[in-house]
Symmetry: C2
Subunit: 355 residues, 2 copies
């Protein structure tokens, strides 16, 4: 029933959130972006990276950042098996389900899952949440849409079956012939983002938390387009009021608590994105590269990477956490009418539960 949560989902969400009901989460599950960071200095083919090279970088990220986050999103291939002991008990774990490779059909992306990994294993390993990234846009072919929707629905069902929160990440992408950096694409992106979320609002997908991208590029918004974040001037495509309107709509069509992802934006831009998202009702963040990417400019000097993570990434994460005090607690989402109730709670619950 809406407004109610099963015990595992309720407990999982309480574990993922801080005491004030806000999600302050960090992602270290990235694969291609980290591979790129590890090969930038020598121009190697990322395919040549060894398991140990990647695992060591992941373990470093995990042990430096996890103590400062309410939850950490890890991948099961490199991070989970090598860095589990470095995640404090009070920092919840989310595990990634999708492979970083996807099937490209005429440029349309069809996600696939990591082979040998599934929701049952995530639950078994003691994680508090399952994350699936679904590449999406509402204007792809019926076949691609069906593929992506069937996948999300299947994962949602598995999360219900194993009673663990389902965090759905949606990302739009350029099709062949589109230039992600063009004004034309950026002008259309808000509709793609909003249209995608609308598609996955249905209860049949069983999403507990939406991990969403900021719908517009703030670097193309009046007041910021002059190069506020990266020194580069761009055509003005939106006003701040436009952006606020998009966020309000995003909040209105999202049927469960949502958090902001950082994708590739820099630290200052992400902080600005976050403030706007919190004004609109976001319940926190799940931030990745905005937190840790800059430190890897020092790679392969691992000592220096660690020093930068400690001197810059950790303080930045703390700053985001402070800003997030203005977020809407997940329990205050309209879905729960004030406070989430336990599904089937009260006398006899222990017999009914999971039976």
């Amino acid at each position: 029933m809406d407004g109610e949560l099963s015990a595992g989902k309720l407990r999982g969400l309480m574990t993922l959130a801080s005491g004030d009901g806000v999600f302050r989460m960090v992602a270290v599950d990235q694969r291609p972006p980290l591979f790129a960071a590890l090969t930038r200095h020598d121009g190697r083919d990322p395919a040549g990276l060894s398991f140990d090279e990647v695992a060591r970088a992941k373990a470093l990220l995990t042990r430096t950042l996890a103590p400062h986050a309410g939850a950490i999103l890890v991948d099961p291939v490199w991070t989970h098996p090598t860095a589990l002991g470095g995640i404090p008990g009070r920092t919840a774990i989310i595990s990634t389900l999708e492979d970083y490779g996807f099937e490209a059909v005429g440029g349309e992306r069809r996600s696939r899952l990591i082979e040998g990994w599934d929701v049952a294993k995530i639950k078994r390993a003691g994680a508090a949440g399952v994350k699936l990234l679904a590449w999406y846009r509402p204007d792809v072919s019926e076949d691609t849409r069906r593929h992506q929707e069937a996948l999300v629905e299947r994962v949602g069902r598995a999360c219900r079956e194993h009673d663990i929160p389902f965090i759905l990440e949606l990302l739009v992408y350029p099709l062949p012939g589109e230039d992600a950096d063009s004004a034309d694409y950026q002008r259309r992106r808000p509709a793609l983002v909003l249209g995608s979320v609308g598609r996955f609002a249905d209860a049949r997908f069983g999403v507990d938390v939406y991990k969403l991208e900021f719908p517009a590029d703030l670097k193309r918004c009046r007041g910021f387009h002059g190069g506020a974040f990266d020194g580069r001037e761009r055509p003005e495509l939106f006003t701040l009021e436009d952006v606020r309107g998009m966020l309000t709509e995003l909040d209105a069509i999202t049927p469960a608590p949502w958090v902001l992802l950082s994708a590739g934006v820099g630290p200052e831009e992400f902080r600005a994105d976050l403030s706007l998202a919190f004004d609109a009702g976001a319940s926190g963040f799940l931030a990745g590269r905005a937190v840790w990417l800059e430190a890897f400019a020092a790679y392969p000097d691992v000592t220096e990477v660690e020093a930068r993570l400690r001197s810059a990434a950790v303080p930045y994460l703390r700053a985001l956490s402070a800003v997030a005090s203005a977020a809407r607690p997940w329990t205050a989402h309209r879905r729960f009418g004030g406070a989430p109730a336990l599904e089937g709670g009260g006398q006899g619950w222990h017999r009914r539960y999971g039976a």
Copy 2:
């Protein structure tokens, strides 16, 4: 393999412990002792207590104590379904498996499980540990011993199957004709306690944490026997050196980290028990009545019970937590040779795990 832990058990133990590897846990799963506390003022038959009366008391205990503990032990009948929302995400949950009723055969106790509750449901609900109390003494009939050992083995197997820490509580008890308060019984109790633990040391029981009673009555120990804890003088049965020797032996025969339970001893005595146990290698406490029973003297004035919980039980719990800084971190137990390793960790773990 010994020294290694599967992912769910490793994560579960890290979640149950504080950051320093010490277990600071509180138990509110008691049933007959709480029933007694709720009927003392009017002499009612505890069987006449309504679900709501018990559930309200449990919820009060949970919301006042859980924020000050690393983990809280709850029962699935009254506490879990009514107080789940009152347990902070950073406080881990342990769920009780055994019914408070047991089958008595010639005075020998044969445990039974709560009907409609099991390890699968505990894992599903997002708890971090399973607790089973087994009444035991090494000198009971073969049938009773087999019954209890088969039960523990079965639960241990289920905990492995669902990859969740198994916390085994052992309690000795007087047989017909024995007076628990007699010098004779108390003189024999250390051997009963040590003999019981020895029985369950075998790896086939799959115990991850032992929840043990203090092997000797400190009220009958030289220096305390004059009434130090309750004003009542008793014959001196042991010296402090005797008691230290028992604890050293207890630690030596316990093949995994162990914590001290408070059973019915008062707050001051439990604090003294704890210090001695930590000297011998205990990794923390799982304390119940010593923490909360005194507050219930004010029942049915619930406002006053809550005031006493806040003014006395919480500070006491904090004091225990401070004392526990002297405990041995669970990770330092000889079982792990310094640091627990992930079973099957490294490359390919995600495929092997749980397959």
